[in-house]
């Protein structure tokens, strides 16, 4: 087990270094001078040179890479070129939107998908099952940003129950903040919930057909108890796998939904930074996103080994 964790850890670090190099090189060849963008088309050459020096853009690429990585090792993400403030502050401000939004979406998605999936499987080929299948087909087909636009038209413009977008900040109050995140979270959750419902349904169906379930029923355990005690816990293993994979989708989808609902999250920050060629911010955010995916994969790998003893020896 220890050997497995160590080997996975080494590959995690190597991947992270490779990713950081790739990000740096891609941004190196991307056209665009942050100083020229900040100072516009009337700036004089000496003014541009002064700003480039102030931003450290006049140093060679290797030096800039080492400064970036050196800073990261000390937990310093550097200074944003456009906002002139520490990237760590910017990112944590934005995390305060993107993280709750994603968590809320995961919560809504699982709370919807699990009962629906199990219910559909338990009543296979009956009306409930059909209805659930229709819902999940629709959910898979409709993109989250379009659901978002419909929600805004219906709940914000027409009914006036929710704000049409924007985020007042958590300092405005927990409930006010939550209210601003609710519509986007549902828009983000629905497509993923549809996928998860299908997975839950088929996983449950598979377990229902297994021998030990028949044995339990033969022993006289009633239908509901069999479902609760034997079927659902076993069906959860494949469902958890999919949920783990979906986490990165939630972050990616957040970028689109944040734009539709005008939420100041990490995705919008990344988009803005790219436009302004705020190289420091782009590098950090892409690294954070990739880091998250890599770490989640690492945890899923380790998690499998814990759940399934057969995998431990394969390391």
């Amino acid at each position: 087990m220890l050997r497995l964790v160590l080997s996975r850890l080494v590959s995690l670090i190597v991947t992270l270094i490779a990713v950081s190099l790739a990000i740096f090189l891609i941004l190196e060849v991307l056209p665009g001078d942050p100083a020229a963008i900040m100072l516009g088309t009337s700036a004089r050459e000496d003014t541009l040179a002064a700003l480039r020096q102030e931003l450290g853009l006049d140093q060679p690429a290797l030096v800039r890479y080492m400064i970036w990585i050196g800073g990261l090792l000390h937990g310093d993400l550097g200074q944003s070129i456009t906002y002139k403030m520490p990237v760590s502050t910017l990112v944590s401000e934005r995390m305060a939107v993107t993280l709750p939004l994603s968590l809320l979406a995961i919560l809504i998605s699982t709370a919807l998908a699990l009962p629906l999936g199990v219910m559909a499987a338990a009543r296979q080929d009956r009306a409930t099952d059909r209805a659930v299948l229709v819902f999940s087909s629709l959910g898979v087909a409709v993109p989250n940003f379009w659901i978002g636009i419909l929600f805004i038209l219906f709940f914000a413009t027409w009914l006036g129950w929710f704000p049409a977008g924007g985020f007042p900040g958590w300092h405005a109050g927990f409930w006010i903040g939550l209210k601003a995140l609710l519509l986007p979270a549902v828009a983000l959750a629905l497509p993923q919930a549809a996928v998860l419902t299908r997975v839950t349904r088929s996983a449950t169906l598979e377990v229902i057909g297994a021998d030990f379930v028949r044995t339990a029923r033969a022993k006289g355990v009633d239908r509901g108890a069999t479902l609760r005690r034997h079927v659902v816990p076993n069906a959860l293993i494949p469902v958890t796998t999919i949920l783990g994979l979906q986490l990165s989708f939630f972050f990616g989808g957040a970028i689109l939904v944040e734009n539709v609902f005008n939420l100041p999250g990490l995705g919008r920050l990344a988009y803005q930074a790219l436009n302004q060629r705020d190289l420091v911010v782009i590098k950090d955010i892409v690294l954070i996103f990739s880091g998250l995916v890599i770490v989640i994969n690492f945890l899923v790998d380790i998690g499998y080994a814990i759940l399934d003893p057969r995998l431990r020896s394969r390391a």
Binding site: L30, P31, G32, D33, A36, I37, M38, L39, G40, T41, S42, A43, R44, D46, T47, A50, L51, Q53, E54, T82, Y83, K84, M85, L90, E93, R94, V97, I149, I152, L153, A156, T157, G160, P163, A164, G165, G166, F167, P168, G169, N259, V260, F261, N262, L263, P264, G265, R268, L269, Q272, N275, Q276, R277
Partner: protein, 493 residues
């Protein structure tokens, strides 16, 4: 018992109170968030649209008609030779941090802007300055190296606002000025909040208590925010196709005014075939400006024939100089040796007005035998690199949003690669001319030269499509300088 009485009183005052007093909060929507709140160290228009006149003040200001008005300087004397400006400052003015404003702050702000390591985006404003003296706290004497007809006007820009030495470094994130509103908070990515400055030197100037600027990029989301009442005013909405609909809605006032942005299709004047004035004129003749404005901006936007803002008093309509005339275009092309057709490219930024205009231009050119290929070019980064810096292009299209920027055609090495010594001398001469009438006559002549020489295709003035709550008054119809000046805004009830 007394508690009940109090409750009743509260209910009564709550039901009558708001009906009597007009609303004092305002939410203004803007498409782009400013990258920082210091207009003296960066160019973006959005910085000025939040801070200018609201947070920061200059010695003078530009009013809604584009005229120079006194502000921190209550009056000034100009020496007969036009080289010495003596500004008499307002007294009793305080910065938002409580420190007093005086002549030393003016000297500091201007010296900082013209220092060798300055990152002021309009450093040329300060180029004519020879020396700045402060004989007493209420007087500033500025000596110029040469006369400058627009010096006062430029001092009204955001790049020349007065800041204090103690707070200048932090203005980007925590702005401190002398304006009627103070900075309260900035939720990055969403909003900037300002509150009334209780110590403002013109105590009754403003009616509003709080002003919030919200940043909403998507045009559909802008309209949704207006309709839902989340935003009270959008000084320039990004959805021209929805503007007519909003105009019919009695809840809103919708006004189409002018910005300072001239949409021009710049040509590489040093490159064949654009070094031939006949080709440039042929392209101009091929453009139906009216149809272009209709297609690109739903009919809003004034056609222009030269490079001068209709907001400026020296503006002359030059659209008649080279009018839409396909036959003339074809004849000129044949004369220049391109009777059998011509293939060119246009590097087009992603902004809706630019890409739509480029498509329409390509269709209009096709009718006179010119094949124009559209090359999408990301703005600002890629465009600045390829077109502006490296001048690697045939034709491009972009709006030039700075006020009074006709001098870009006189600049050496500017991306048009346009060289006209007569024009250059005329612009330099106009800049030095202190008599307003004489200066305006020179600007009129300069406009004519450009209209005839067509270094760029002059298309239309970007409109300012303002939409706001019908109960609001005092917002600007045009924007002679980039600004969302809310100092005169109030609610009626």
């Amino acid at each position: 018992m007394s508690k009940r009485l109090l409750a009743a009183a509260l209910i009564v005052s709550a039901s009558f109170g708001p009906a009597l007093a007009a609303k004092t909060s305002l939410v203004v929507g803007m498409p782009i968030e400013p990258p920082g709140l210091d207009p003296t160290i960066a160019a973006p228009v959005a910085i000025r649209e939040v801070t200018w006149a609201n947070l920061y003040e200059g010695l003078v200001r530009i009013d809604r008609n584009g005229k120079v008005q006194p502000l921190l300087a209550k009056r000034w004397d100009i020496s007969p030779d036009g080289l010495t400006y003596t500004f008499h400052l307002q007294t009793g003015v305080k910065f938002h941090d409580g420190s007093a404003f005086d002549s030393a702050d003016v000297k500091f702000a201007f010296d900082r802007a013209r220092a060798p390591n300055s990152t002021n985006a309009q450093k040329q404003i300060f180029a004519p300055i020879d020396s700045i003296e402060t004989p007493d706290p209420a007087t500033v004497v500025i000596k110029l190296k040469e006369t400058s007809g627009n010096f006062l006007y430029y001092l009204g820009w955001g790049d020349a606002v007065i800041i204090a030495p103690e707070t200048a470094e932090n203005n980007k994130a925590n702005p401190v000025g002398t304006g009627p509103f103070k900075f309260k908070s900035w939720t990055r990515g969403d909003r900037v909040e300002l509150v009334r400055n209780p110590d403002y030197w013109q105590p009754d100037k403003t009616k509003l208590e709080t002003v919030t600027f919200r940043f909403i990029n998507d045009p559909q989301a802008q309209v949704a925010a207006l309709r839902a009442g989340d935003v009270d005013a959008f000084p320039n909405i990004g959805a021209p196709e929805l503007f007519s609909e909003l105009k019919k809605d009695p809840r809103f006032t919708a006004v189409a005014g002018n910005t300072e942005g001239e949409v021009v299709a710049g040509m590489n004047n040093a490159k064949k075939p654009f070094n031939d004035v006949r080709v440039r004129r042929a392209l101009m003749h091929a453009v139906d400006r009216k149809a272009l404005v209709e297609g690109a901006y739903s009919g809003y936007g004034q056609p222009i024939g030269s490079f001068f803002s209709p907001n400026h008093p020296a503006f002359v309509d030059m659209t008649g100089v080279i009018p839409y005339d396909q036959e003339k275009a074809k004849a000129l092309l044949a004369e220049a040796g391109y009777g059998n057709g011509l293939s060119i490219t246009i590097k087009t930024p992603q902004m809706a007005y630019a890409s739509r205009s480029a498509e329409l231009l390509a269709a209009m050119f096709a009718e006179v035998g010119i094949d124009m290929k559209i090359i999408p070019t990301e703005f600002p980064a890629k465009w600045i690199e390829e077109v502006f810096k490296n001048k690697d292009y045939d034709v491009t299209i972009v709006a030039h949003t700075e006020p009074l920027d006709i001098d870009i055609f006189a600049r050496d090495n500017y991306y048009f690669n346009y060289k006209n010594d007569r024009f250059k001398a005329l612009i330099a001469d106009a800049g030095r001319t202190t008599s307003e009438n004489a200066r305006f006559a020179k600007y009129a002549e300069a406009q004519k030269i450009l209209a005839e020489d067509v270094p760029a295709l002059f298309l239309f003035q970007l409109p300012k499509l303002g939409v706001w709550n019908a109960k609001l008054s005092g917002l600007w119809e045009n924007s002679p300088v980039p600004a969302n000046d809310v100092t005169e805004v109030s609610w009626s009830d």
